[in-house]
């Protein structure tokens, strides 16, 4: 797991800050495929395209997009995985 993944809620975090499209979505997909136990993943991103591409990825893959939250210089996008 990367970064602050071991939070109290066992939150899974993908840190894609500073990475340009399509990398945030690629890293999210890669994380999801290598962490079969994850139910909820948070992606941290600065790329403006992530705001559209992460919800679109969720729709194409059948997951639920649980919203984005501005945190200083980046946005945290939450994804509820359907597994």
């Amino acid at each position: 797991m990367t970064g602050a993944a071991d939070s109290a809620q066992d939150e899974h975090v993908v840190d894609a800050r500073g990475k340009r499209c399509p990398l945030p979505v690629i890293e999210l997909a890669r994380y999801v495929s290598t962490h079969p136990q994850a139910r909820r993943v948070v992606v941290l991103a600065t790329d403006p395209a992530a705001a559209h591409d992460i919800p679109a990825w969720c729709r194409m893959r059948g997951h639920d997009f649980a919203g984005g939250q501005q945190r200083g210089d980046h946005v945290a996008y939450a994804v509820e995985l359907a597994r």
Partner: protein, 385 residues
């Protein structure tokens, strides 16, 4: 290797219009406001060009003005409606997928004014059509004096429900500005509008804005000089451009319907070929669309890399992905539709008269697509994700 033009949004010129343009450099170079023989000849040629365009659009010549570009004409169309509205209000309603020449000044006006909602952007469906319920609601807000909707979107091809949209603006006397810059010459000329805007580039002409204000519409440009372009421009157009635009219109009029039918079928082939590629979404309305425009997005693909890989195979396509724009912002159209913005490819088919081998070019694109997308995914190491 032969270049295959699949991005005709900005040209090139129809070959006969190109000849006309060159000939007009001799015959029509003068300022049409001058009283000498050269000026009078230029004025007569400009009148003739205006008559051709007016007849093509089914309007009267004084309703037509030529402006330096399509985007300039779009911005002017709204300015004239707002200025004529005077103290009745300043609020504008537009769809979220309008041209940036509408959205950027609209947002700037709203930011400067006291009313934060002075510019309403009405959401669109997943296919890009304006949500009519939201459109109706936005129009009811007090102080709304202008409405803007495109005939069809130039990035994804989706047509807008103009008749229904105008049925909602008309009762309140709100003029509807219709942006037909992507559709004129390629699709039926819209009839449900109060102000119509075109760009000669869409029918094989040079860059030239066309602004049509229907008689009786409350429209006035603050800086109008009555003697120039019926009070809708500050400079007369360069006459050779107007002549080339009129020539392109005439040249393409006879074959317009058959050209559109063939383009519609060619786009259908691209839609099928792209849909067959794994994790690739073709966006926009599959049926109620411009005949010659299609866009699709491939998951986990870098749009810039995709355009580059196709370009190296001789295929010229456009993209709405962020990494292909100077601002790093993705296409506001794809964003408003809620579709994938990365890995985007946009095709605007040229007219057959401009590009006689376009069917062959479409076949080449369809053939190249699966392998090219796979190769770009391979470079990123994302195959099988």
């Amino acid at each position: 290797m032969r270049r295959r033009l699949l991005d005709a949004a900005s040209g090139p010129l129809h070959p006969v219009a190109q000849q006309t343009l060159v000939a007009a450099l001799d015959a029509g170079w003068a300022d049409p406001a001058r009283l000498h023989a050269e000026g009078r000849r230029a004025a007569a040629l400009l009148d003739r060009a205006r008559e051709v365009v007016a007849a093509g659009l089914g309007v009267r010549p004084p309703e037509v003005s030529f402006l330096p570009s399509g985007p300039t004409a779009l911005a002017r169309a709204v300015d004239g409606v707002l200025y004529a509205a005077g103290r009745r209000g300043a609020r504008t309603v537009a769809s979220a997928v309008e041209h940036s020449a509408i959205l950027v000044p609209g947002r700037a006006r709203a930011a400067r004014s006291a009313g934060a909602d002075a510019f309403a952007e009405v959401p669109v469906s997943r296919t890009g059509a304006v949500e009519l319920d939201a459109w109706a609601e936005a129009l009811t807000v007090a102080g709304t004096v202008a409405a803007v909707l495109q005939a069809a979107n130039g990035e994804v091809g989706t047509r807008q429900p103009l008749e229904a949209a105008r049925a909602l603006t008309q009762p309140s006397g709100i003029p509807l500005v219709v942006d037909a810059t992507a559709s004129l010459g390629r699709d039926d000329v819209p009839t449900a509008w109060d102000v119509l805007v075109g760009d000669a580039r869409s029918w094989g002409g040079p860059p030239l804005g066309v602004l049509v204000v229907r008689e009786g519409t409350r429209w006035h440009w603050r800086d109008a000089r009555a003697d120039v372009e019926h009070g809708r421009a500050d400079v007369a157009p360069w006459v050779p451009l107007a002549l080339a635009a009129a020539e392109a219109w005439q040249q393409t009029a006879a074959s317009r319907q058959s050209d559109a039918q063939e383009a519609h079928m060619l786009v259908e082939r691209i839609r099928a070929a792209a849909s067959a590629v794994a994790d690739t979404e073709v966006v926009g309305d599959p049926v109620d669309r411009l005949p010659h425009v299609v866009t699709f997005s491939s998951l986990y693909v870098d749009g810039e890399a995709l355009v580059g890989a196709l370009d190296r195979q001789g295929l010229a396509v456009a993209s709405g992905s962020a990494c292909t724009s100077s601002t790093l912002e993705p296409s506001h159209v794809l964003a408003a539709m809620g579709t994938l913005t990365h890995g985007n490819v946009r095709v605007t088919l040229p007219l057959a008269a401009v590009s006689p081998d376009r069917a062959d070019d479409v076949a080449a694109l369809c053939y190249a697509l699966p392998g090219t997308i796979e190769a770009v995914r391979g470079e990123l190491g994302v195959a099988g994700l």
